[in-house]
């Protein structure tokens, strides 16, 4: 079972001028097997939510709670959260020069499992998952994210999702910057992952385009650091037509 529960989450971004509150009371429960889309305009705090959940040092959770299968995450370090089963597919994956994809994947797998994967099956698993993302075998020898195209970076994130198979996945604008072919490949990877039936998926996106390929069970509208509306897939269709303007105005007038 993989249930991600976010309760009244408040978080600040740490800047040189001091702390600034970005998340202003987020409530969300993602049950096993569910896909939740979080949609909102630029600057609404969607990415902050993703980073705060994963534990990025630039953000500090000031109050509230996040649990994964009942384990409180907010007091844990970044790597402890990951070992609890949380995964963040990043909007801007970071270059790590000189560290090969193969070395990185194996080190991560070893850290998550507490033991090194079996050599024979592991190499095959890596090749299978890379092939599923339309990534050549030689990809494993390249340095992590270095010189990757935008599409390669995102496909590499989803390859990790499939290979590391966490309990809960947060996908932070994985669709942005992808052409339609790459988008389909990425969506298929996410669908394979969520088809396992017991994984929690939080899909953060600015556009409705990806929701044509990944069916969300719930759609949440995120404005000014909190969820302001929610519904089913039809909400995404409505947003496609009306945009976020109405929500932004409502928040501004509140």
């Amino acid at each position: 079972m993989s249930t991600l529960v976010i309760k009244d989450l408040h978080a600040d971004v740490i800047t040189e001028e001091g702390h600034k509150e970005i998340l202003k009371g987020v409530n969300l429960t993602v049950n096993p097997g569910e896909v939740h889309a979080i949609m909102g305009p630029n600057g609404s705090g969607k990415s902050t939510l993703a980073y705060a959940l994963a534990g990025h040092p630039k953000y500090v959770i000031t109050s509230g709670s996040v649990t994964l299968d009942g384990v409180e995450l907010t007091g844990l370090t970044v790597d402890e959260r990951a070992r609890t089963g949380l995964f963040l597919a990043m909007q801007y994956p970071v270059e790590v020069p000189g560290v090969s994809v193969a070395n990185f994947l194996r080190t991560a797998k070893t850290a998550l499992d507490g033991q090194a994967p079996k050599v024979r099956t592991w190499v095959k698993d890596v090749e299978r998952v890379l092939a599923g993302m339309d990534l050549d075998k030689s990809f494993a020898a390249r340095s992590v994210n270095e010189g990757f195209s935008g599409g390669e970076k995102k496909r590499h994130e989803i390859a990790q999702l499939e290979l590391l198979n966490p309990k809960a996945a947060i996908l932070d604008e994985t669709d942005s910057g992808l052409d339609i072919d790459a988008l389909k490949v990425v969506a298929e990877g996410v669908n394979r992952y969520s088809a396992q039936g017991d994984r929690a998926v939080m899909l953060i996106t600015h556009y409705t385009r990806i929701l044509r390929y990944i069916q969300p069970d719930f759609v949440h509208v995120f404005v000014d650091g909190r969820i302001v509306d929610e519904g089913g897939k039809e909400l995404a269709e409505k947003l496609e037509v009306t945009g976020y303007e109405e929500y932004v105005k409502a928040v501004a007038n509140a």
Binding site: G55, P57, A82, R83, M90, P97
Partner: protein, 386 residues
């Protein structure tokens, strides 16, 4: 910029003083001089003192067939040298050398096996002069490795013939008490391709002036360096590339990690582009990774351009702690902070080692980095470079 090209050539910079064998031209430094201001002059005192012939290192190694080696007089060595000494340590090295070593790879000879020399210090003072000549269109790799304990001053000159392809590798793997100073001068022949790799790991203090010039157009020089300064260690690489011929190229990339109280590194990256050096390309970069409190990395790139007609000239220098975003990315995959740091340092050095292009040297350097890291992190895990 025709006014620059047309200007009378005067090298204003005080960074590269007039080379000379005359000790009086290299007075005892006080530490306030531009070329000495980063150096712990007191530590180098044994290498600055005038005197009779000093000792030598114990040399062992592999001499593949086709390579000529012999001892020559110091007077002969001066005749063959690329240039006279540029600082007092190098002048002392030349003066206190008993007999100079000479290596020759004949023209159009390809030596596939690396020529490896291992010099071991026996504890005392040593001063050596070494000249190597690589003939026209020859191909070879020369590895000089330093071990043991010594107070060692060196004056090395490497002349690379036209069209030759030569790798020069220096590995400073001294024991903790060693002091090593001196000068390595390389002359790059017409259309020659020269790659140097300088790894400084051990020793109490190292200070090397690495100088390069060209003997015709079209030469290409690549210089890679890596160093690891531990507590109380001073590592100084003083690079100077003299673009004195047109259409020449140089690329210098030195990387260092510093760890422990008093760890100190210095990298000087001087490039001079002379008026005649039209159409040249140069880039110099130095990156330092500071792994703990109490370290100091001095990094000074410097470009002097006397002609406007060049293809490209640039430099960069960065010194910093671990990149928070890299740590976050690795840790978000479950990797512990300590393991993430280890990976990043490995990557930092792998990034340069993989460009060396000589497999057995790459392997050796990786082992060396692994050894340094195991000292830092207390792990002896083998590096994975897949």
């Amino acid at each position: 910029m025709p006014n620059v090209v047309g200007a009378i050539e005067t090298i204003e910079s005080h960074l590269h003083p007039e080379p000379s064998y005359d000790l009086e031209k290299h007075p005892m430094p006080t530490g306030r001089e531009e070329i000495w201001r980063f150096t712990p002059v007191k530590t180098f005192k044994p290498l600055l003192a005038d005197g009779g012939p000093a000792g030598e290192l114990d040399w062992a190694g592999e001499m593949p067939p086709g390579v000529e080696f012999k001892m020559i007089t110091t007077a002969q060595a001066r005749e063959l040298a690329v240039e006279p000494p540029v600082d007092r340590i190098s002048a002392i090295a030349a003066q206190r050398t008993r007999q100079a070593a000479y290596l020759h790879v004949p023209a159009e000879t390809e030596i596939s096996e690396p020529i490896v020399f291992i010099g071991t210090g026996k504890g005392g003072q040593a001063a050596e002069t070494f000249v190597a000549e690589f003939g026209t269109h020859s191909k070879a790799t020369l590895v000089l490795r330093f071990e043991g304990t010594a107070q060692y001053a060196c004056k090395f000159d490497f002349r690379i013939g036209d069209g030759a392809q030569i790798n020069l590798v220096y590995v400073n793997d001294w024991d903790d008490e060693s002091i090593h100073g001196g000068q390595i001068s390389v002359e790059v022949g017409r259309d020659a391709r020269v790659r140097t790799v300088h790894a400084s790991m051990g020793g109490r203090a190292i200070r090397i002036a690495e100088r390069a010039r060209y003997k015709g157009p079209g030469g290409e020089l690549e210089q890679f360096g890596l160093y690891f300064a531990d507590a109380g260690q001073d590592v100084e690489h003083r690079m100077f590339v003299d673009h004195n011929e047109p259409n020449t190229k140089s690329n210098v990339d030195y990387r260092g990690a510093l760890q422990g109280k008093g760890a100190h590194s210095v990298w000087i990256g001087d490039v001079l582009i002379r008026k005649v050096a039209l159409g040249i390309e140069t880039y110099e970069t130095n990156k330092n990774l500071v792994l703990s409190e109490g370290c100091q990395a001095d990094s000074v790139p410097n470009l002097e351009i006397e002609t406007g007609e060049i293809l490209g000239a640039g430099h960069s220098s960065t010194t910093g702690r671990f990149d928070d975003n890299q740590l976050f990315y690795l840790m978000s995959r479950g990797i512990t902070e300590e393991e993430a740091r280890r990976l990043i340092v490995h990557g930092f050095f792998n990034d340069i080692i993989r460009r060396v292009g000589v497999e057995h040297i790459e392997r050796k350097l990786l082992e060396q980095v692994e050894r340094e890291l195991s000292l830092v992190h207390g792990t002896t895990r083998t590096a994975d470079v897949a």
